[in-house]
C-alpha cells in the first residue's frame, strides 16, 4: 500500500512539474500601473496601411497600457481600403501611408499626419557619385545601369543591395520610385543594420535604409540635388519620403473622447518618443 501511495505521489509530482513548465511562460503579470485618473473605456478601431503596422502596434500597446479599459484594434488592409472604411463609417481612424487624394478630402476626410517616413540612399565612402536623379536611381535598381562610370563615376560595378520582400522600407522605396517588383537585387538583406554594414564594406555598393540610421560610415546620396536630410523632407522637397496619415472624418476636435485622447497620446512626449524610436520623423 505504501508503495502505491509513493507511486501516486511521484506521478502526481511529475505531472505538476510538467504542467508548471507548460504554464511557466507568458504569465508575467504587471500590476500597480493603473492610473486613477483614466476612467476612459471603450474601443478605438483603426484600419489601413500595412506599412504603418509597426507604428500602430507600438502606439496602441503603449496606449492600452496607459488606458487599460480601452481596446485599440487595427486592421492592415491597405491605405485606400482604410480610407474607404473610414468614409463608410465602419472605423474611427483610417491609416494611409500617403497623402490623401482630393477625392477623399472632398468626402470630409481630414488628413492628420502623425509621422513621416524618410528613406536615404547610401553608397560606400569611396564612391565619387554624390548625387543621383530619380530616373538614374530607378535605372540602377532595375538593372539598366550596372556600372558607376555610366553615371560619370569611377569604373566600378554597382552592387545593388536591398531589403527582403515584406520589408516596409523596401515597399516604400519601390513604391515611391514606381519600380514595384521590377528590382534586380544583387543582395537582399533582412535588416537595416545589415544593409548599412554591407554598403559600407563593399566597393561600388548602393543601398537604402531609414533616414535616421545613416551614419558617417556611408555616403547619403542627394536626390535630384536635394540632400537626404530631415529639413528637406519637412520642406517637402525630398522624394523618398511619405507621410503616415491617421485620417478622421472631420477635424480631430469633432471626434469622440476616445479618439481625441488617442491623438493627444500621439502628440504627447511618450507618443513622440515611440515615433522617433521607430526611425520616423515627427511632423512640424
Amino acid at each position: 500500500m505504501k508503495r502505491f501511495i509513493m507511486k501516486a505521489v511521484a506521478v502526481g509530482m511529475a505531472v505538476l512539474m510538467t504542467a508548471g513548465i507548460a504554464t511557466g511562460c507568458g504569465s508575467a503579470t504587471e500590476e500597480g500601473k493603473t492610473e486613477e485618473t483614466t476612467k476612459l473605456s471603450g474601443k478605438i478601431s483603426l484600419a489601413g496601411s500595412t506599412s504603418m503596422e509597426k507604428l500602430c502596434e507600438a502606439m496602441s500597446e503603449s496606449f492600452m497600457e496607459a488606458y487599460p479599459d480601452v481596446t485599440v484594434t487595427t486592421e492592415y488592409t491597405g491605405s485606400s481600403a482604410g480610407i474607404e472604411s473610414l468614409t463608410q463609417g465602419s472605423i474611427d481612424i483610417g491609416n494611409a501611408s500617403r497623402e490623401l487624394k482630393d477625392g477623399e478630402k472632398e468626402k470630409g476626410v481630414t488628413e492628420n499626419v502623425v509621422a513621416i517616413d524618410g528613406i536615404a540612399v547610401i553608397t560606400d565612402k569611396e564612391n565619387a557619385t554624390k548625387d543621383l536623379t530619380t530616373e538614374q536611381l530607378a535605372a540602377i535598381y532595375t538593372g539598366e545601369i550596372s556600372n558607376w562610370k555610366e553615371l560619370g563615376g569611377n569604373d566600378e560595378a554597382i552592387v545593388v543591395i536591398g531589403r527582403e520582400a515584406g520589408s516596409g522600407t523596401r515597399s516604400a522605396f519601390e513604391e515611391l520610385l514606381k519600380i514595384e517588383d521590377a528590382c534586380q537585387y544583387a543582395q537582399e538583406l533582412d535588416s537595416t543594420g545589415a544593409v548599412l554594414a554591407k554598403v559600407a564594406s563593399t566597393p561600388g555598393a548602393i543601398g537604402y535604409v531609414s533616414l535616421d540610421v545613416v551614419d558617417d560610415t556611408v555616403n547619403a546620396v542627394s536626390l535630384n540635388g536635394v540632400p537626404a536630410l530631415e529639413e528637406s523632407i519637412l520642406a517637402g522637397k525630398y522624394l523618398l519620403s511619405r507621410p503616415f496619415v491617421m485620417a478622421t472624418m472631420g477635424e480631430v476636435s469633432e471626434q469622440n473622447e476616445l479618439v481625441k485622447t488617442w491623438f493627444e497620446f500621439i502628440s504627447s512626449d511618450e507618443g513622440k518618443s515611440i515615433i522617433s524610436d521607430l526611425g520616423l520623423i515627427l511632423p512640424q
Partner: protein
C-alpha cells in the same frame, strides 16, 4: 507487503525517466504535426506545382508569385557541393589523425578540430562576411571583368556559402570517421601489410573500406548540419532568390524563413511554413538514411 524502501525510490525514478522520455517523443510528434498542419495550406492556396516548381519569388507583388524551386535547388546544390569539398578533406584529416600522425602531433590536431566544432555559426558567418566576401568580390571582378550581363554581388554568393559550410561540416565528419577508422581491427591492417601492401595501400584498400559505414554516418551527419545551417549562410550568401550558380547571390531554405518571417503575412507566411516543411522533410530523409546505415553496420558487426 512491506518491501524495502529502496524499491520505492527505484520505481519513482522509473516514472520520472518515463516522463522525461515522453517529453522528447511529445516534442517530435507535435513538431511534425505542427509543420504538416502549417505547411500544407499553402499547397492548396498556391498550387503544388506552382509552389514547388515555380521559379519566380515575388510574394509581395500585386500579383504574387510563390515559386520556391530556386530556393530548394540552392539548398540541395549548396549542401552537395560542400560535401564534395568537405568530405575528402575531412576523410584525409581523419586518416592523418589515426594512421599517419604520431601521438604527439595527433594530440594537437584532434583538440583543434574539436574546437572547430564548438565555434558558433555566427562566428563563421562573421569571418565569411569580413574576409571571404571581399576576397570573393575580387575574384568575381576578375572573372566577370567587362561583363554587361552579370549582376555583381559584392562577393556574397553561393561559393562563399559552400566554402563556409565545407569548413563547418569538417569536425563532424572528421570525428565520426576517425573513430570508425580506429575501430577497424588491427589484424586487418597487419594482414594487409604482411601480404606486402604498402602503408598507403593498406589505408585506402583495407582500412577505409572497412570503416565505410562509420564514414557514411559522418557524411550523413555533415549533410544534416549543412542543410540545417541558417545563420552563417544568411550572412554570406547575399539572400536574393536566384538560380544557384557559383557567383549568384542565393537563398537557402533556412535563410528564406529567417529573413522573411518577420513581416510576412497571409499566403506569404503560409508559404514560409511550407519552406519549413520542405526543409523538415529533407532532414527526415537524411535521418532515416542515417538510421539505415547504422542498422546495416550493426548487422555487419
Amino acid at each position: 507487503m512491506n518491501k524495502p524502501k529502496k524499491h520505492i525510490g527505484e520505481s519513482a525514478a522509473k516514472y520520472v525517466f518515463a516522463i522525461c522520455a515522453a517529453v522528447a517523443i511529445l516534442a517530435v510528434c507535435s513538431i511534425t504535426i505542427y509543420m504538416i498542419a502549417k505547411g500544407t495550406p499553402a499547397f492548396k492556396n498556391v498550387g503544388v506545382s506552382e509552389l514547388l516548381f515555380g521559379t519566380l519569388w515575388q510574394p509581395t507583388a500585386a500579383e504574387p508569385s510563390y515559386g520556391i524551386v530556386y530556393i530548394i535547388l540552392s539548398s540541395v546544390i549548396g549542401t552537395g557541393a560542400c560535401i564534395l569539398i568537405g568530405v575528402p578533406i575531412a576523410l584525409l584529416t581523419a586518416v592523418f589523425l589515426t594512421e599517419v600522425a604520431n601521438r604527439k602531433l595527433a594530440s594537437v590536431v584532434q583538440p583543434a578540430i574539436e574546437l572547430l566544432a564548438a565555434i558558433p555559426s555566427v562566428i563563421y558567418g562573421l569571418l565569411g562576411l569580413m574576409i571571404l566576401n571581399p576576397a570573393m568580390y575580387k575574384l568575381e571582378k576578375l572573372i566577370f571583368a567587362g561583363s554587361e550581363t552579370h549582376r555583381f554581388t559584392g562577393g556574397s554568393n553561393m561559393l562563399s556559402a559552400i566554402l563556409i559550410l565545407a569548413i563547418m561540416i569538417l569536425p563532424t565528419v572528421v570525428n565520426v570517421s576517425a573513430s570508425s577508422i580506429r575501430a577497424v581491427s588491427k589484424d586487418l591492417r597487419a594482414a594487409s601489410l604482411a601480404l606486402g601492401a604498402s602503408k598507403i595501400q593498406t589505408i585506402f584498400k583495407v582500412t577505409i573500406p572497412a570503416a565505410k559505414s562509420g564514414i557514411m554516418t559522418g557524411v550523413a551527419l555533415g549533410i544534416g548540419r549543412a542543410l540545417g545551417e541558417a545563420m552563417a549562410i544568411n550572412m554570406v550568401a547575399g539572400g536574393a532568390v536566384n538560380i544557384p550558380l557559383p557567383f549568384n547571390s542565393v537563398r537557402f531554405l533556412t535563410t528564406q524563413i529567417v529573413s522573411e518571417m518577420g513581416y510576412a503575412e497571409g499566403t506569404h507566411r503560409q508559404v514560409l511554413f511550407t519552406v519549413g516543411l520542405v526543409l523538415y522533410v529533407f532532414i527526415m530523409i537524411i535521418n532515416l538514411m542515417l538510421q539505415r546505415i547504422r542498422k546495416g553496420r550493426e548487422k555487419n558487426e
